[in-house]
Symmetry: C2
Subunit: 301 residues, 2 copies
């Protein structure tokens, strides 16, 4: 069925059929460090009607703790760490669930959030921000050394990507037997600032695919890996969840893959013309301009 | 037919059937800045028998002029610029042949060689080594500006890859109407030093694919784009050429795509077990350990 524009005619039946609203963050709740207008009121209203609210973000730069701080700093003081699922957390959970040995190390191309989540899960992460200023130079008779005990490389969004990290990660994946290659997510671009889009984790992950000839295990959206945590936590069915996001190929596809209802907001990377373009084959159930529309529709007669 | 090990039994018929030997460089002629043993004698011998010698390299770090200097510095003094085809040159030729407007600019993720070849062809290259120390920071209310007059982004091997260059190239490809995305080549790794492999242009090119959701035009091997120059230059048939290389998926595939005879040398990235692995489906006509074997086989009774 073609996506329906959210309206006073269809809003109430959607709202009543949902127990848990899953929100993407970048482009839905905020753009960079700027809160999107009307988000705070809409979230308060949804909660006041007894609905659960969860934030599911592919952005792995921060840990769940750091995201809770960001919500607070933007005035969304009621959001707790337990309501946040980040792909940084998902990467650590993937290793834990798969009994990744605690004596093996993990090389990280990505932000502090991944390192912190690995540490909380009891693992040792190498690389990350600590390797941002390192140089890898081609010198005769000199060997670029890597830790043979690295058993997984986790790749996420890394604005400090460099050749040192790429060589380190590539050597681990190509030369350490059985080394896992895990991607937090593969978003092509994201609204890292309020003014424009920037290369996302898809850029760094694809770079590693290009040098290793390997495909990664993806733990973020549209993979439904994170859904297991949600189902366990809320003891609900996915059909009574609604995924609200700004990206078709991650958020909406994630919702569809999991069997949720889906609502696209046009406040992020997807425009109405992108959505309605003939070339697009990912169609949400509903779409609207912004999360703030929920407040308007709830108040409408 | 399964690849034949080069031997005194099959060498002379191969040698006599070929007018022009095409040599890859990294892993065939040199590793990093170290000449592979016996290469100089083998090249002299091939020339002394009246054969043409051409060097076809995917490594875009240098221009043809810079490669001629490298050959000289390694003692291969007879190699001229006209005998060298580099993917840096191929990128410039691709634009020239396709009448890329001289008033448009080209953003380069890659080395000085690409910038120099563009300049020789009459074009203005931006980026390259000049952007290696630049930082791209996510700041609120601040726009990362790019030149709207960039009509092509050329991506090659870049050991100084950074987020600034990736954001610049991504913005050009995504936002400048009709902007071309050209890859010098997509080698996963290469022997940039004598001791080990390093991420190749495939790494940087895939990074751009990941952020732009676009596939590039590839001008280096295994694309046969460079073959047109060779055919025009030597007025010969491709069946009387032999491509000598160390990579199956670039060199040998290039030779096969063009209809050349193919000889794999095991002095670079491909081992005999890689070659004979069941999973490999690119089979050269012949293989041998190193270019220096040509001297031994020529001298054998």
């Amino acid at each position: 069925m073609a996506p329906q524009l959210l309206s006073s005619g269809n809003f109430k039946s959607l709202f009543d059929s949902v127990d848990t609203f899953l929100f993407d963050c970048d482009g839905v709740i905020w753009k960079g460090d700027t809160l999107i207008d009307g988000v705070s009121q809409a979230l308060d209203l949804i909660r006041s009607k007894g609905k659960n609210v969860v934030f599911v973000t592919n952005n792995s730069m921060k840990s769940r703790r750091q995201y809770a701080e960001k919500f607070k700093s933007l005035g969304l003081v009621s959001v707790t760490q337990e309501e946040i699922l980040s792909s940084s957390f998902a990467a650590a959970m993937y290793l834990k669930i798969n009994n990744f040995p605690k004596d093996k190390k993990i090389y990280v191309i990505g932000g502090e959030g991944v390192i912190e989540e690995l540490q909380i899960a009891g693992y040792t992460g190498l690389g990350g921000p600590g390797d941002s200023e390192k140089k890898a130079e081609w010198k005769s008779n000199s060997l670029f050394e890597h830790d043979k005990n690295v058993g997984a490389v986790v790749v996420g969004l890394d604005p400090n990507i460099n050749y040192y990290k790429l060589q380190y990660g590539t050597l681990c994946v190509r030369e350490n037997p059985g080394c896992l290659f895990i991607a937090t997510n593969r978003d092509a671009v994201g609204h890292m600032t309020d003014t424009q889009e920037w290369p996302g984790a898809g850029c760094m992950v694809s770079a590693m695919c290009g040098s290793t000839d390997r495909e990664p295990i993806v733990v973020g959206k549209p993979s439904t890996f994170m859904m297991d945590f949600l189902l366990q936590k809320f003891q609900t069915e996915t059909s009574r969840m609604c995924m609200v996001g700004d990206r078709l190929d991650t958020d909406i596809l994630f919702g569809q893959n999991a069997g949720c209802k889906t609502l696209l907001v046009l406040s992020g990377v997807t425009s109405e013309s992108n959505l309605l373009d003939k070339g697009n084959n990912i169609e949400p159930d509903y779409y609207t301009s912004s999360v703030s529309d929920i407040t308007k529709l709830m108040d409408s007669p």
